[in-house]
């Protein structure tokens, strides 16, 4: 057994938890219980959980994107934070003011994403920048996730360039899942490999097949470690396939069967199960039990959030300002 076996087993359990949670969210959406949208990361659990599991909540920074349920769980987000935000509980971290994947606890190093892709790169860079100013940066890293489509934004470019200029320990994980909503890669960028961008920005680059569970754990942990050791920004590109639609309102019918049935289209949970069993890191029975435990825990989080009070528009403090003097003035 490898020396990091406990960590590997933990990452897989987080992936299972994420998958169960996402399937439950999808079901709640299709039962008319969740409004707005449900955006899943089916197929991206291995890289996402691998990244999250290498980070320390309260020390490091992790700014997930829309397909990072697994990474969120791995970074220590409670299942209740997920279900409360999706189901609009007034007790959740967003208190009904924002929903679904737009959740976070910034003071615990977990910024809440906005919809505008690429913007988290500079925000995480800023958090690291501040830690450096305060003399607290040593041994800490910041990480954020993006997709193939997000690499086309100006914010991605500006953010990564700024982090590179400042030589800050930023890990950027690009989940190259082949489609940005429905737009395929050949309409998104013209370089042969997204990894080539690392050269242009002057940052370290790493590549991994995102459906390969063990490779994902290894690559992400390595990249995070490089950043932690002062190696500056790390760009990790993972090739894989989004195994669901853009959101649960989308059945992804535009994804050709050829890709679905290629190596890209493998499910990292299936691959991981095989790898765990074949390397004797876990047994089939153990893994089945993890699934069962996950179902119970997820159901508990859903049940609790469902019973909780919804935000009350009559009690809502309708002000977006923090300063009491300004809040009290008419707008």
């Amino acid at each position: 057994m490898p020396e990091n076996s406990e960590h590997v087993r933990l990452v897989y359990r987080q992936m299972v938890m994420s998958r169960v949670m996402e399937m439950k969210l999808s079901s709640l959406y299709k039962a008319g219980k969740i409004v707005g949208g449900v955006y899943l990361g089916k197929g991206q659990e291995a890289i996402s959980a691998s990244l999250g599991s290498c980070l320390q909540r309260g020390q490091d920074v992790f700014a997930p994107l829309i397909r990072d349920q697994a990474g969120r769980i791995a970074f220590g987000e409670s299942l209740l934070d997920t279900t409360r935000t999706y189901l609009g509980s007034a007790l959740g971290p967003m208190r009904g003011r924002d929903g679904n994947i737009h959740r976070g606890r910034p003071l615990e190093g977990n910024p809440a994403m906005i919809s505008h892709l690429g913007t988290s790169l500079s925000v995480v860079t800023g958090m690291l920048f501040a830690k450096r100013m305060k003399g607290e940066l040593a041994g800490k890293v910041g990480a954020t996730c993006i997709g193939d489509g997000g690499t086309s934004t100006g914010a991605f470019h500006e953010g990564l360039n700024t982090a590179a200029v400042e030589k800050l320990p930023l890990v950027v994980l690009v989940a190259n899942n082949q489609f940005a909503y429905s737009t395929p890669n050949d309409r998104q960028f013209a370089c042969d490999n997204l990894l080539d961008k690392a050269i242009g920005y002057g940052v370290a680059g790493h590549y991994v097949e995102g459906s390969d569970f063990l490779a994902s754990v290894e690559t992400l942990c390595h990249a995070v470690e490089q950043a932690r050791q002062g190696g500056g920004p790390q760009l990790v590109v993972a090739d894989l396939l989004r195994l669901n639609g853009h959101g649960e309102h989308d059945d992804g019918a535009y994804v050709p069967d050829q890709i679905r049935h290629s190596k890209l289209g493998r499910d990292c949970l299936d691959v991981g199960r095989e790898q765990l069993v074949s390397t004797q890191l876990a047994t089939e029975e153990e893994i089945d039990r993890w699934w069962e435990e996950a179902r119970e825990e997820v159901q508990q989080a859903v049940t609790t959030a469902q019973m909780e009070p919804k935000p009350d528009p009559y009690k809502e403090e309708w002000s977006a300002l923090a300063n009491q003097d300004y809040r009290n003035r008419p707008v």
Binding site: S27, G32, V35, H249, D251, V302, T303, Q306
Partner: protein, 409 residues
């Protein structure tokens, strides 16, 4: 056992409805949590509607090939109490008021919809029907309210509030709308009309301004035989009006507050006893003012009075001669009128009117016989905010009393 509804989900941010493609279960079927039970199709995708918990399909209301609004109840699941506690679906239990089986019935959906007040029968309105019923209207007599828009149109036409008094408003609280005004103007355009003279406009303006106050009129019959007898002895003979003017002034001097002006919470008293005399002229009335009446005797006043009245009749009275009065005397008796309710000038609060003298027979206890007397009605119009009926009556009685001793005036 409690029932949990199966809802049409919101399958996309802009999706309002979806079509049921296939029913995957039928009544009586046992289903588990998160099972797809109905296949639906939007313009974006085809997907399955799932159950929130396990149970038995107790009712299926949806039909294949029919579209339903987001939030519509497509069927019901019979669920055990334990399952409800396990899954936390309790807030779904509120049964719709009208859970009619009819597929097109959306009232059930709007009653029980968790997220939206949806109403699939709602059609985009082609025109908005404006209405004013129930709108808040200004406090007080709203018929007098003139909107800024109506006010602007009236200014354009040179109209005052009183000019539109003939219009029965159709707006909120009986308010005159601009449409009412235009309709009225068109209506009167076919009537014969003449151009009002500047004099007429001046009187109209004065009366309009005066009429903003709560004016009241009281009257008192006065026997004027002694006055007439005394007057006959004078040479030249002063006008009867002059005696009344003088008596009125004396009475006012004794009680100056009755000629006061109410401004805010102050009663502003007269500074000088300058009294006007109404003179009828062609197409109007002029009111020259006699200064300091209290300081002058009838004899002193005689020439001034005659000259002023003459100037007025010949329209040679200048504006300085008509300004600053505190009250006016008007002798409408000269037109044979016995009674009237004159209106004071807007800058005065009192006007004393004199009716025509008439011969009456009255019973005298003294001589036990009917005696002929000359009776004249004195009327006084006053601002009821400043003076009450009693005060006005006392003022009139004092004038009548003074007129009985004309030699003292």
């Amino acid at each position: 056992m409690p029932e949990v509804p199966i809802l049409m989900p919101q399958l996309g941010e802009s999706i309002a409805e979806a079509k049921v493609v296939r029913l995957l279960v039928s009544q009586g079927d046992r289903v588990v949590s998160d099972q797809e039970v109905i296949e639906v199709e939007t313009n974006k995708a085809t997907m399955g509607v799932t159950t929130l918990c396990s149970g038995v399909i107790s009712r299926v209301m949806a039909e294949e090939e029919v579209s339903y609004a987001v939030g519509t109840i497509l069927g019901y699941l019979e669920v055990t109490e334990e399952e409800i506690i396990r899954t936390g679906v309790g807030d779904h239990l509120s049964r719709p008021k009208n859970s009619d089986e009819s597929a097109s019935d959306t009232s059930a959906a709007s009653d029980s919809n968790v997220h939206f007040a949806t109403d699939s029968e709602y059609v985009e309105p082609t025109a908005i029907e404006p209405h004013v019923q129930g709108l808040p209207v200004p406090a007080g007599n709203s018929a007098q309210y003139i909107s800024p828009r109506l006010r602007a149109r009236m200014n354009e036409l040179g109209l005052q509030g009183a000019d539109i008094s003939a219009i029965a408003g159709s707006g909120a609280g009986g308010r005159v709308t601009i449409e009412d005004l235009e309709y009225f103007l068109e209506y009167i355009s076919e009537w014969p009309s003449t151009k009002a003279s500047p004099m007429r406009m001046a009187v109209a303006d004065a009366m309009r301004r005066s009429w903003t106050r709560p004016l009241a009129t009281v009257g008192l019959p006065v026997y004027i035989d002694r006055l007439l007898d005394y007057r006959k002895q004078q040479m030249p003979k002063p006008s009867l009006t002059l005696y009344v003017l003088k008596a009125f002034t004396t009475a006012l001097q004794e009680n100056p507050e009755s000629a006061g002006f109410l401004i805010g919470d102050k009663i502003v008293h007269p500074r000088a006893y300058d009294i006007g005399v109404a003179v009828q002229v062609d197409d109007g009335v002029l009111v020259p003012v006699i200064r300091n009446v209290n300081e002058k005797s009838i004899a002193d006043l005689l020439d001034e009075y005659v000259a002023l009245v003459d100037k007025a009749r010949t329209r040679r009275v200048t504006s300085d001669l008509t300004q600053g009065g505190i009250a006016t005397v008007t002798n409408f008796g000269t037109f044979g009128l016995k009674w009237g309710t004159p209106i004071p000038l807007p800058n005065e609060t009192l006007i004393l009117g004199m009716g025509a003298g008439t011969k009456q027979l009255i019973w005298s206890e003294e001589v036990e016989s009917f005696l002929p007397v000359t009776e004249m009605d004195l009327v006084l119009t006053f601002d009821h905010r400043v003076v009450d009926g009693g005060g006005a009556g006392m003022l009139l009685n004092r004038v009548a009393e003074l007129l009985q001793r004309p030699q003292d005036l």
